[in-house]
Symmetry: D2
Subunit: 181 residues, 4 copies
């Protein structure tokens, strides 16, 4: 059994990125599960003068216990959401003991426009170099016009996207196995 966690960068109830992450969790290969860490980004703004909040410790533990992490990365202002970045700021410190160190990661993203979160994912990949987190290259999951691919309940209705997610799940399972130490 391979147990992943999924982190959605949006706090919106009707987030297309949470819907995408749910679709990822439903298309994983047999023997692989993904638990959504919902509600864990509502943290104080990072400040190294503060003691680590309990919610940060809980997020660190959840990542530490997972075989890999899938981030759903909405694009705000051509980068990742501040809330997701803030969580990374907490979780990556202190660097030597961060649960992100060496942790296999992958990115997915959905947007209503054409770019499919390309810019946000590029920034996020750069951040994961700092935390020394291997991040899968391909297949990239960049979903443009995402509002046309999910129904009102957030269920994926587009078959080509489902096929992409299935390839993603197979590739990430192999990626996680390769990076097991």
């Amino acid at each position: 059994m391979v147990a992943l966690v999924g982190i959605c960068g949006s706090l919106r109830k009707a987030s297309l990125n949470r819907a995408l992450l749910k679709a990822v969790s439903e298309t994983l290969p047999e023997g692989v599960t993904m638990r959504l860490l919902d509600g864990m980004l509502e943290l104080p703004i990072f400040n190294s003068d503060l003691a680590e909040p309990a919610a940060v410790t809980a997020l660190k533990d959840a990542i530490a216990g997972a075989a890999g992490v899938v981030f759903a990365v909405p694009e705000y202002n051509y980068s990742i959401p501040g809330g997701l970045k803030n969580a990374l700021d907490w979780v990556s410190r202190p660097p030597p003991s961060s649960p992100l160190r060496g942790k296999p990661c992958a990115l997915v993203g959905a947007a209503s426009g054409m770019s499919g979160t390309i810019r946000a994912q590029a920034h996020m990949r750069h951040m994961l170099v700092f935390s020394d987190s291997p991040c899968m290259n391909q297949p990239e999951v960049l979903i443009p016009r995402a509002h046309e691919r999910f129904d009102a309940e957030g269920t994926l209705t587009d078959e080509s996207t489902r096929a992409l997610l299935q390839r993603f799940g197979v590739a990430f399972t192999a990626f996680v196995a390769r990076h097991r130490t």
Copy 2:
């Protein structure tokens, strides 16, 4: 009179970036002032389901009333702090009426290592393309080994840095004048 505002991306009391911003404010040309918007990044995590908090409206008003904005950009995880990004996420919405639209901006950054916040500033420039905010190219203020350039009270003690900040102030004053509509 030209009235700028300065926004520091770090919440730490002893932040070198706040010290740098203070040094910027003290080396501006005559007739130019800069007010530090301290404490304005402690905002809820952005969520478009929420109504705009009063603290966001106050930050928007401060930016709207300024001739230009100087951001001090610490580097966390090879990007800008989550708290600064979160403030941008709030302030840039809705895009057509964001006070960042057309607002002249410039970046400065200090770090204890060698890179001087190069990566964070690169990401920040990219974000300002989204908000259609002209961002001054040169001179770049990237201060490496910053802990050696300020004393314990946060006062700049390095003359070459002071000379750079003076050139920065002159250049940004001209940049602001050029972008006045």
Copy 3:
């Protein structure tokens, strides 16, 4: 009269980016012209041991004589073409006398996929910070599925793209005027 030059990053005969640049030149406001600097990227690979080739001097002169530069930026390997980068390497040296210094620039790009050269343009903007070249933020011209928008002769057939190019031309004309020293 405002005289611009256009530089296409692709050497292909049937380049969609050259077609796009041609369409830009045909939608500029009255009183603004753009000359395509075709064939000027076939330069030796940059090597500072070499004397400056005559073709580089010619390219520098063409840029120096223009009121602004429009670059058409194809995306190869998630960045700008090596040939375009090589031309920048030549033209930007020595930095103090580079014709790119202070020269108003704008980017356009076309691709057959969905991303419309987003990544290449992000890299190119970063390069223009080095050469201290003001680069217009908005409107961005990122043309996805470009092969559906031009006919076999490279003539633009898509009206929404034409409208975007018209807004681009108006905005860049104002941008050039603002940066005239």
Copy 4:
């Protein structure tokens, strides 16, 4: 035996990046060798209208036959040299059969300034996502003030740099082993 190749992005005779690559080759663990592919970047400017030049085929074969590739990445205009990018443009096509696909890569870079090629390496990492080439995250080899660390013959004289290169060699050897299919 593990046989790597090294590719230097500079054509200059006295290139600090070639000197760095030579130092890398001399500090690899026992059983690991690295052959410098010198002179292989002097290629025609990429143009998909052209047939593949013999020099490109030779470069592809050298990469295909290696267990991994170390790129020495000088920084020109805040990105990688046009000549190196041009070589990538050739070598990465057609994508399905590119020798870069799945090939373990690592970056090193030297500069006379303080940044140590940070920006160029960030761009290069992004390009390797396109070619689906795993690129080692850490340790990063970013050598600032490089002219003080090599003698006139290009021999590394700085012991802290040598120690970094030794850690780099050990880490890349493990990285190559992990990515062997």
